[in-house]
Subunit: 356 residues, 2 copies
């Protein structure tokens, strides 16, 4: 049974501004380990001799990123099975539905591995092993989500609570919990039952269509209509603009996972995962100090990123993010890392769309 | 009796890095009011109809800044009487001695107005009036220093204490005091007798030579020898490298002013003076917020400077200096404004002389 990796790379957040912009979102930037997260994700899912039966990747993204996608795919040397292009962002429920339409046409018995392109996984082998461990559970009629072993009481993530065992390597999903408070996150960390929801899913094509029909039929029908009206050029599929735009925007977690009885969780997995969601999260992935790095004098607990042609010097400061990219400098208290969107709003008000 | 303005512009400090560098020190940079402090100083001393009998300016600087000087003088439209070039920095005592050698050859009865090019004076007319008020005192055989009316208990400056009156507009110098502590500075601020030492002096040529002979004869003799061996091209004088380099490096304040019995002080003068000595001092001169300025969100008491092609956004920070120029970014706690030299040392250690 073949696994079809469907890599979602259409998002563009604000929290890693100024490096991540709507023109070049973080998944396409060389921010970690000298290679873009998109390329790392594509390579992580490449065919290999480890028993995983993987198809070539399916890329799903916003049409505006086609050039970036083709350029970066070429750098990996991996040929995509297809590139599915959305005319606008409608969150992840419809992405699952579109992925199902595509894979159904290729292999109705196939499994879909749906995952974001903008996460870092430091131990790709451990991740692939977890995918392998999830195959039987998915085949037996489950939507498997992958739980990441928490290493700190993070309040910015969603958590999955494991229920009863399913077979030897999975559990039913007892509950989902979005962004708990600090005290709750502490108990999650110690009880061994909770893991981070990484937004990575493995499921059979037929099952996901059934569950969408049950819990979000309008999204399923909208996806089918947009798919039917799409235009195709070689392996690139352009989803119909009017029909796709009309679809309700909702996350897959909210539309399906929090309602289905077919959920399962594999994990907790230890694979050095990070969503690289904020500057401090990015900072947590940096190791060592480079000779070409910033000059830090009497400086504590700061996260510094700059383009290679810029030198940052910090003197006597604490708990700051300093990020420099292409004509923009962000200096921010670390505790405000979730609020970068306020800067983007100010830039909008000034008409500086060249900067975000 | 003619006043010969001698403008010292050979210095290159580190405290306004990265904008001020040894290649282009702060006096040559457009940092305040859109015009370099050097040009402002030259224009402040231009001939006018206000009764001050001023000669064209004499510029004294390091030879490496000749191009900058000629370019910026051309922009003012003012022709220098001479440009005297030092091969290296030997502080201000020798500068006074060299100025005396030059002016003696032009006008042995002349007065020298010795002043730095890197200060800002917001009320040039008030300053010129103070110079006019000092002429009689200088002619009567005094080295007049100009005391600036303090408007805060600044601990980073030198103070002059006024003694007995000399004529109608000057006082004897009771004492000098370098960088007092906060409590002392508070008493200076309130007692009405203390003013800031701006390092601006008016004196007769003959007197300064006599005082140098009395208190720093080696510097006087060194200056005479270097002057005699100098080479001249039109109005540009190159001081002899070997002879000038051999001269002792000492400030004019320390070599002469703290020892002479001929000192006098005019003031305190209110002329919106600033030495623009640190980033916070620079920040104190900025008025209003420009549409093209930084984006400051939940930000208090920060000083931000960036080149026109760079946008700075600050979020949730306090008491910082953020300065961006030409491939370098400085983020510093304001209280560390005197310590920028630590950054320069780190740059030296990395061999990054391109950046300072």
């Amino acid at each position: 049974m073949t696994i079809y990796p469907v890599i979602m790379c259409g998002g563009s957040g604000t929290r890693l501004w100024p490096v991540s912009t709507s023109r070049t979102p973080k998944q396409f930037v060389n921010m970690v380990s000298g290679e873009s997260l998109f390329r790392q994700t594509v390579r992580r899912l490449a065919q290999a001799d480890d028993g995983l039966s993987l198809a070539d990747p399916v890329i799903i993204s916003n049409a505006r990123y086609l050039d970036l996608i083709e350029e970066q795919l070429a750098e990996t040397g991996i040929t995509p099975l297809a590139i599915l292009l959305e005319p606008c962002a409608r969150n992840t429920a419809v992405v699952a539905a579109i992925a199902a339409e595509f894979v159904k046409g290729v292999d109705p018995e196939g499994l879909i591995l749906l995952l974001p392109a903008d996460h870092f996984i430091g131990m790709p082998d451990a991740f692939r092993k977890a995918v392998g461990a999830a195959v039987e559970t998915a085949k037996s009629g489950h939507i498997v989500t992958f739980g990441i072993s928490p290493d700190r009481p993070e309040t910015g993530y969603g958590y999955i609570k494991a229920g009863e065992p399913i077979g030897t390597s999975a559990y039913s999903v007892a509950s989902f919990r979005e962004k708990p408070d600090q005290a709750t996150a502490m108990t999650y960390l110690s009880d061994g039952k909770h893991s981070w929801n990484a937004g990575i899913f493995l499921f059979p094509v037929g099952l996901i269509q059934a569950e969408l029909r049950a819990y979000a039929p309008d999204i399923l029908e909208g996806a089918k209509a947009a798919w039917k009206a799409s235009s195709t050029r070689e392996t690139i599929v352009y989803l119909d603009e009017a029909l796709f735009s009309a679809i309700r925007s909702m996350s897959f977690d909210y539309a399906v996972m929090e309602k289905t009885q077919k959920g399962a969780v594999v994990g907790p997995i230890s694979c050095a995962w990070s969503d690289v969601g904020t500057w401090p999260a990015w900072g947590g992935l940096q190791t060592g100090e480079l000779a070409s790095g910033p000059i830090l004098i009497d400086t504590k607990n700061c996260t510094v990123h700059a383009d290679d042609d810029t030198l940052v010097a910090a003197l006597g400061v604490e708990d700051l993010v300093i990020a420099v990219h292409d004509g923009a400098v962000l200096v921010m208290q670390k505790s405000r890392a979730q609020d970068v969107s306020l800067v983007i709003e100010a830039l909008k008000a000034r008409g500086r769309s060249d900067l975000f």
